[in-house]
Structure formats: structure tokens, C-alpha cells
Symmetry: C2
Subunit: 248 residues, 2 copies
């Protein structure tokens, strides 16, 4: 939701007053925001990026990065921009999740929020606080703090979509570096799905999909026998099953 998150355009005002946007004919009108659920994998946990809200409503609560959509940018652009501004994170791929439009989801005014979700590999784990948000951090989706607005619902829905999508589309690769081992990949699947997988069945299936090519190199994964490295053969993200590829 995101009301008043953009401090740039949200001067302090009286609490309790319901302030609305207006259409060209002077009628009150819902405002439009985007919120982004950004997942990563670390420590065998699925984590989501949250920021600290500074302004009411929900000042002091954790919230998803997000903010109002500008009139000169698309929804996809707004989501990518807010993620970069508020969390200092650039993503290659975004997918629209759902649009939340309940009347009282923002207690201060009527805001409709288009939720997006995105995935990032562990290398992007150190987000810098952006201009708008002071603190940024990663939280285990199974142990979330109290969240502003309906952000808990958004995260739950995003997690569900991620689970479904993992079953039929190669989205899990977004959570790993380009070169990866089958052990890493299986660990990612196990974290997302929340259950252990059989190693032999997993390898048979993944290798049968013909989306991995061996690099010929080996990698030492802690101790133990070194594992063969593979590279994800993304056909320009054509088979990610929807979503938006950001080209930069």
C-alpha cells in the first residue's frame, strides 16, 4: 500500500483526515500505488525484503517497498523504480501479482495497490537504504514482524504464487548465480516448497528439462566432494512463464 511513503510528495498533515485524490471533474478518486515483494534465499530460508516506515500511517512498522505510481511511468516501471529508490536493489525480472483494492486497506485514504513480486540471488543480499527508506532488511517469510497495511496478505499470496510457479516454470534460477550446482538448485526448491526432495528424482527431472548445460568445471561447496557446475540456458527469459524482463 504505500500511502505517504514517498516523503518527497507527502508533507505532514493532520491525522485522521481522509484525504483523497480527484479526477479531472473534481470527483474524489482512488490513488494508485505499487508494492514489491522481493524474495531471496539465504541460510536455507526464504526471505523477503522489508523497510521501516517513517511516516504515518503505520509509522515505525515494517512494510514492503513501494509508492505511488507517477503519471509518466508504467506500472512495471513504477515497481522497478520504487524497488531501486527505497531499497537500492535492481532486478532483472518482475511479475505482477495482484491488485489489492479493499476500501480500508489504507486507513488514511483510498489507495489501490498493484503488487509485484521479484526474485534476486544471494549476491544482492546487501541492499542499501534508499532515499525514502532508512532501514532495509531481510526477513524469514515464516517469521514476519507486524506489517503495515495488508502487506502480510500480499506476502502470503506472493509466497503461494512462487510455490505454484516453481512447479512448472524455471523461476528458481533467479535465486541463484549464473553458474550453479544441482545441490544448490535442489536446496532452493526445498526451501520454496517447504519439503525435502529426493535427490535422484530431482536430478532426473531437472536434467530432463534440457535447460541446464554443464560448464565442465567443478566447484567446492564447503567440504565434501566437488560438484559439477551447470549454467541455466535462459532463452532470453522466454520460458519464465510471464512477467516483465527489464533490459538494462
Amino acid at each position: 500500500m504505500s500511502a505517504e511513503r514517498s516523503s518527497r510528495r507527502s508533507p505532514p498533515r493532520a491525522r485522521g483526515a481522509r484525504v483523497e485524490a480527484f479526477d479531472p471533474f473534481g470527483q474524489p478518486h482512488p490513488a494508485v500505488a505499487v508494492d514489491v515483494i522481493l524474495f531471496t534465499i539465504a541460510g536455507r530460508e526464504l526471505r523477503v525484503l522489508l523497510i521501516d516506515r517513517q511516516l504515518p500511517p503505520f509509522a515505525g512498522h515494517k512494510a514492503l517497498p513501494g509508492g505511488f505510481v507517477r503519471v509518466d511511468e508504467s506500472l512495471d516501471e513504477a515497481a522497478a523504480r520504487e524497488l531501486e529508490e527505497e531499497a537500492g536493489v535492481r532486478v532483472r525480472w518482475l511479475e505482477q501479482l495482484y491488485t489489492f483494492g479493499a476500501l480500508e486497506r489504507d486507513p488514511a485514504r483510498r489507495v489501490i495497490s498493484v503488487a509485484y513480486f521479484a526474485l534476486i540471488d544471494a549476491a544482492g543480499l546487501a541492499p542499501r537504504a534508499g532515499t525514502d527508506a532508512t532501514a532495509v532488511g531481510w526477513f524469514d517469510v515464516r517469521r514476519l514482524p507486524k506489517l503495515a497495511f495488508d502487506h502480510a496478505q500480499m506476502i502470503a499470496y506472493a509466497h503461494e504464487r512462487l510455490r505454484y510457479k516453481t512447479e512448472y516454470a524455471p523461476v528458481a534460477f533467479q535465486l541463484l548465480p549464473n553458474d550453479l550446482t544441482l545441490g544448490q538448485l535442489q536446496a532452493v526448491y526445498e526451501v520454496i516448497l517447504g519439503k525435502p526432495l529426493d535427490k535422484r528424482n530431482f536430478r532426473r527431472k531437472v536434467l530432463g528439462l534440457d535447460i541446464l548445460e554443464p560448464t565442465g568445471e567443478l566447484r567446492q561447496e564447503g567440504r565434501g566432494r566437488p560438484a559439477a557446475l551447470y549454467r541455466f540456458r535462459a532463452r532470453r527469459f522466454a520460458d519464465l512463464g510471464g512477467g516483465v524482463v527489464l533490459d538494462f
Copy 2:
């Protein structure tokens, strides 16, 4: 789409001027609309409901029913209301499809549109023109006229979602009366999926789902041997796989 569809709140104005909504701080702001893709089955075709636009932009074009979201209604309510006002159709069930937010999708101003889709059985085939729209009609999805805004894209996406959903959720029942024959049901599946299905495999699968109970009656379907009637055991729509149940 849907800009200026609500004639009630859209007086004539100069062409070409880009009129925007404003947020509480005087900044230009996107407006929010809903559009509804309503499908039915008739004449072994999948048909979609379209209305005639009266006002620019795209005056004279066919368009989806839809309009601006009011500040005192949820998105779901707005979609149901517009469908009833513009097309005289009440539906029991709606599902949010996608939110379209490209900059130039409405040439007159910035409008973000939340698309919904809904299904209705053939008994609802005679929609009355509502207050806003003069003419309402059903069109074969394979042979659509030129459409306003990005409505052709919306319909294509809705059709795709309907196909996917048909494979795993019992949505097809929305397109048939309460009491139905397996022949009718198979015909609906064949129209949605666009391919013939094997009768014996179809019956084995559907009956194995345990969602149909025989009423014990027979129905004469034209000529030929009478068919057994079944009733869909909707567990309060709990297994429709998402969407909004409207209770009235």
C-alpha cells in the same frame, strides 16, 4: 480502458487535450478503471460481451463493459457494478485477471485498468443495454471486431487464463445451468480448449473428480437417446480456485 465511459461523469471536452487526475497534493495522478470480460457459450462458440462506445476516445468502437472505480467501492464491487449498469448482467462470480497500466493505452489520459473476467450460462444470453451503453452484444472470441483501447489484448489474456483454469479447476460449470448432461459439459470443454476430447476418457476423468451427482432424471437433448442429468456439487465455490463470490 474505460476512460470516459461513464457519461454521467464525463462531459464532452476538447479532443487531444490530456486531462489528468490529481492527488491530494496537486500532483497529476493516474485514474483507475475496471473492465470486465464476460464469457458465455452459445452455438458451440465462446462468446464475449461487448458494448458500443458513445463518447471519444474510440467513439463508435466496440469495447468491454467497464468504468472508473469510485472512492467508496472496492475493485470487485466496481467490476460487478459496471457489468450490471452497462450490460444489465448480474454474475455470481468474478475473478481478477490482470492490471493494465501502459502509458498510452488510453490516448486521452492516463488510466490504469484492472481487468476482471466472469462466466455466465446461456440463460443470461439476453443482456439489456444499461444506463451508459446503448447496444450490447455477444461476439465469437475468434472473430472480434476492432476494439477500443487494449481490450483485444485483455480478451486474449482472459481466454488464455480460462483455458489454463479449465484444466485444473471446475470453472466450466459456471457456463452451464445447474442440471447438466455430460454431453453438454464435454461440449463446453471442447469449445474452451478448442479441440475435440475423447468421450470415454472425459467421462472417466470428470466422474472421478467426485464433483457431480446424478439427479436420477433424464433429459432429451434434441434427438437421440436421452442423457442422464447431473448436478454440480459446488462446495460453496470453495474449489473454484480463486476469484470472488458475490453473495446476493
